[in-house]
C-alpha cells in the first residue's frame, strides 16, 4: 500500500520535473551567437524597455488602489465587500484575451470614445499596454496585499489607538511598517505578473515593432515567423527577469519570517 507521505512527496517533486522538462527543452535550441545577435537588436531592446516601463507604471498605479483597498477588505465590513471580493478574481477567471476584448469594447462606447478623444488614447498605443497590465494585475495585487494585512493582528492597531494615534497615524505608523516586507513582495510579484502579460496587451495595444511590442508579444511574433532560436533567447530573457524577481521575493519573505 502506498503511504500518504510517499504519494504527496512524489506529486510535489513531479511538479518540479514537469516544469524542468520545459526549461531544459528551451536550452536545446540555445545558441550563443544567436544570443549576441538578439541582444544587439534594437527592436528587442525596445521591447524589453517597453515591457519594463509599462509594467513599472502599471504596478505604480496599482499600488495606489490596491494598498488602501486591501486594507479596507482586511479590516472593515462594508455593504459591497462581498462583491468587491468576488470581482478581484475577475482577471483570474476571465481569459486575458477576453479581458483585453472587454477593454477594447469599452473604448468603442461613447464613454470610451470620450476618454480617447479628450483624455488619453489607449487603443494601439503604449498606454494601452499599461492599461491592459493594470487591469490584469489589480485584482491579484489587491488579493495578495489583503493576505498581508490579514496576517497583521489588529491588536497592534488597537493599542496604537489607545496610545493616542488616530486612524491615519495608526495606518502609517503601525499597519504599514508591520506589513512593509509583505507588501514589497506583493509589489514585486505584481510587477513580474505585469511584465509577462500577453493576452490583454495584444488585444488592446496590438504588437507594433518599436511602438507597442512587449517582450511577451515579441516572443509570439518570433514564434509566428518560425524563428525558434530567436524565440528561445527572448524566453530566456523573460525567464531570467521573472526568476530573479521571485528569488528577491523569497529572500524578502525569508527575512520577514526571521524578524
Amino acid at each position: 500500500m502506498i503511504s500518504l507521505k510517499r504519494y504527496t512527496i512524489f506529486s510535489a517533486v513531479s511538479i518540479l520535473f514537469t516544469y524542468l522538462i520545459l526549461i531544459i527543452s528551451v536550452f536545446y535550441f540555445f545558441e550563443i551567437n544567436e544570443f549576441k545577435k538578439v541582444l544587439s537588436d534594437n527592436r528587442v531592446f525596445y521591447a524589453i524597455w517597453i515591457s519594463v516601463l509599462s509594467a513599472s507604471i502599471a504596478t505604480f498605479l496599482v499600488i495606489f488602489i490596491a494598498v488602501p483597498s486591501a486594507y479596507a477588505l482586511s479590516r472593515y465590513t462594508f455593504k459591497l465587500k462581498p462583491f468587491v471580493d468576488v470581482i478581484l478574481e475577475l482577471p483570474m477567471i476571465v481569459s486575458p484575451a477576453a479581458l483585453g476584448a472587454m477593454l477594447l469594447i469599452f473604448f468603442t462606447t461613447p464613454a470610451g470614445l470620450f476618454i480617447r478623444e479628450n483624455i488619453i488614447d489607449v487603443v494601439y498605443t503604449f498606454w494601452g499596454i499599461v492599461l491592459a497590465q493594470f487591469f490584469s494585475v489589480l485584482g491579484i495585487c489587491t488579493r495578495l496585499m489583503k493576505a498581508v494585512f490579514d496576517e497583521i493582528p489588529s491588536r497592534y492597531e488597537n493599542i496604537a489607538r489607545t496610545l493616542g494615534a488616530n486612524a491615519i497615524q495608526t495606518f502609517f505608523k503601525v499597519s504599514l511598517p508591520l506589513s512593509k516586507k509583505g507588501l514589497l513582495s506583493s509589489i514585486i510579484l505584481t510587477w513580474a505578473k505585469a511584465i509577462g502579460e500577453f493576452g490583454a496587451t495584444i488585444t488592446i495595444a496590438g504588437t507594433m515593432a518599436m511602438k507597442t511590442e512587449t517582450l511577451p508579444t515579441a516572443i509570439y511574433m518570433k514564434l509566428s515567423s518560425a524563428d525558434i532560436k530567436g524565440t528561445v533567447i527572448l524566453i530566456l530573457i523573460l525567464f531570467t527577469i521573472s526568476i530573479s524577481l521571485l528569488v528577491i521575493t523569497r529572500v524578502l519573505l525569508q527575512t520577514k519570517n526571521n524578524d
Binding site: 493599542i159 496604537a160 489607545t162 493616542g164
Partner: protein, 354 residues
C-alpha cells in the same frame, strides 16, 4: 470616573447585555470572572475598541460612548501586551509621546528613562522586544501605558502570562504604581488571589451580570454558585430550616447546624464553605465543641507548598467535602488517609448561595 450604563456588546456570537458598572476615582478595581465571561470585551468597550450597540459610557463624568479610542484619555494594557515588533523597547515606550508632538527629543529621552527606571527596565531600552522575557515584556507594555500619564489605566489579565513566582511581585508593583501615579485602575483577572491582593472594589462578572462588592464584604454576602466557586468556595450544602431559631438540617451530612449569623426567611437554603473554613476538632476539645460538628473519613491528602488539601467523606452519608489545612497542623493532628476525624464548619465564614 468610569461608568457603564446598561451596555449591550456583541463580539461574534458572544454578547453581553445590560451591563452596568461604576468605578470611582483613585481606586484599584478588579473585574473578576471566569475565562470567557466577557472581561476583555468590557475593557475593550471602555477603551473604545468595540462599540456598544446599546447603553452609555461615561468617562471622567462625560458621555464618551462614541468617542474614538485616542480621545478617551485612558491607557489600556492588553493581555498579550501587543508590543510593536518593528520597534525596540525605547521606541515602544516613546510611541505615544512622539505622536503627541508635545516634546522634543531630549524630553522624550528623559521621560522614557524615568519611567524605565521606575519599572526597572532601564537596562533593556535598546533591545528588540521580540527577545524579552514575559516579565520584561509586561513591564515595557506598562511603561508604554504609564508614560502618557493618563488618569485611567485598564489592565487585561496582566498576571496571566507571568510565572507564579512573579505574579505577586507584579501585583505589588501595580499597586505601588497606582498610588504613585494617582491612577484609577480597572483590572480584569480570573485569578482570585491577584484580585484579593489588589482590589479596593471587586466587580464579579458571571453569566453576564456584574456584582460589585468591597473585598471585606464579599465573604459575608449572598453569592451565586458560579461566583462562589470562582472565589474558591467548593463545598456546597443544602439546608432546611427547622422550627428552632437558627437551626438547620443538612441533607448531605444528615445533621443539624446552628447558624446564628444567618437570617433567612426561606424554608430551604444553600450554603457554601471554603475548604480552609473546615477545621479539625482536637480530641481534647470533642466535649467542648459539639455544635456544627460532623464525622468524616480522610479519603485523600494532596500536598501543596505550605498547605494540604484533604478530601473528606462524611461517614454517615458518603458526601464528599474538601478541607484545607496547614502541613504543620496536618502533622500535629496526625491526619492520614483512612483516619476518622471530627470536623467543624467555621460558622462566621459561611456564604449563602442563591
Amino acid at each position: 470616573m468610569i461608568e457603564l450604563r446598561n451596555i449591550c456588546i456583541r463580539a461574534g456570537k458572544f454578547s453581553l447585555n445590560q451591563i452596568s458598572l461604576k468605578v470611582d476615582k483613585g481606586n484599584f478595581n478588579v473585574l473578576l470572572g471566569p475565562s470567557g465571561s466577557g472581561k476583555t470585551l468590557i475593557l475593550e468597550t471602555i477603551a473604545g475598541l468595540i462599540n456598544p450597540f446599546e447603553g452609555e459610557i461615561f468617562l471622567h463624568d462625560k458621555l464618551s460612548t462614541h468617542l474614538p479610542p485616542d480621545k478617551r484619555n485612558l491607557s489600556y494594557l492588553p493581555q498579550d501586551n501587543a508590543l510593536f515588533p518593528h520597534k525596540n523597547v525605547f521606541e515602544n515606550i516613546a510611541f505615544g509621546l512622539r505622536l503627541s508632538k508635545l516634546f522634543i527629543e531630549h524630553e522624550i529621552k528623559l521621560k522614557v528613562e524615568e519611567v524605565a527606571y521606575h519599572l526597572n527596565i532601564q537596562h533593556i531600552l535598546n533591545r528588540s522586544v521580540v527577545n524579552l522575557s514575559g516579565g520584561e515584556q509586561q513591564r515595557v507594555a506598562l511603561a508604554r501605558s504609564l508614560i502618557l500619564r493618563k488618569p485611567i489605566l485598564l489592565l487585561d489579565e496582566p498576571t496571566s502570562s507571568l510565572h507564579e513566582s512573579m505574579q505577586e511581585d507584579f501585583c505589588l508593583l501595580l499597586k505601588q504604581i497606582q498610588k504613585e501615579y494617582h491612577l484609577t485602575v480597572l483590572m480584569s483577572t480570573h485569578h482570585k488571589d491577584s484580585a484579593f491582593l489588589l482590589a479596593d472594589n471587586l466587580h464579579i462578572l458571571d453569566n453576564g451580570k456584574i456584582i460589585t462588592q468591597t473585598k471585606q464584604n464579599i465573604y459575608h454576602s449572598s453569592l451565586p454558585e458560579n461566583i462562589a466557586y470562582l472565589l474558591g468556595i467548593s463545598n456546597f450544602l443544602n439546608l432546611i430550616k427547622t422550627n428552632l431559631d437558627h437551626q438547620f438540617y443538612c441533607e448531605e451530612l444528615q445533621m443539624y447546624f446552628v447558624l446564628s449569623n444567618i437570617n433567612c426567611n426561606e424554608k430551604k437554603l444553600k450554603i457554601g464553605v471554603k475548604p480552609e473554613n473546615i477545621r479539625v476538632i482536637k480530641d481534647e476539645d470533642l466535649n467542648k465543641e459539639t455544635q456544627n460538628r460532623f464525622v468524616a473519613i480522610v479519603n485523600e491528602i494532596l500536598y501543596k507548598e505550605k498547605d494540604a488539601l484533604v478530601l473528606l467523606e462524611a461517614c454517615e452519608t458518603k458526601y464528599k467535602l474538601k478541607m484545607q489545612i496547614s502541613i504543620y497542623n496536618l502533622k500535629k493532628l496526625n491526619i492520614f488517609i483512612g483516619k476518622i476525624i471530627h470536623c467543624k464548619i467555621k460558622e462566621e465564614y459561611i456564604n449563602v448561595i442563591h
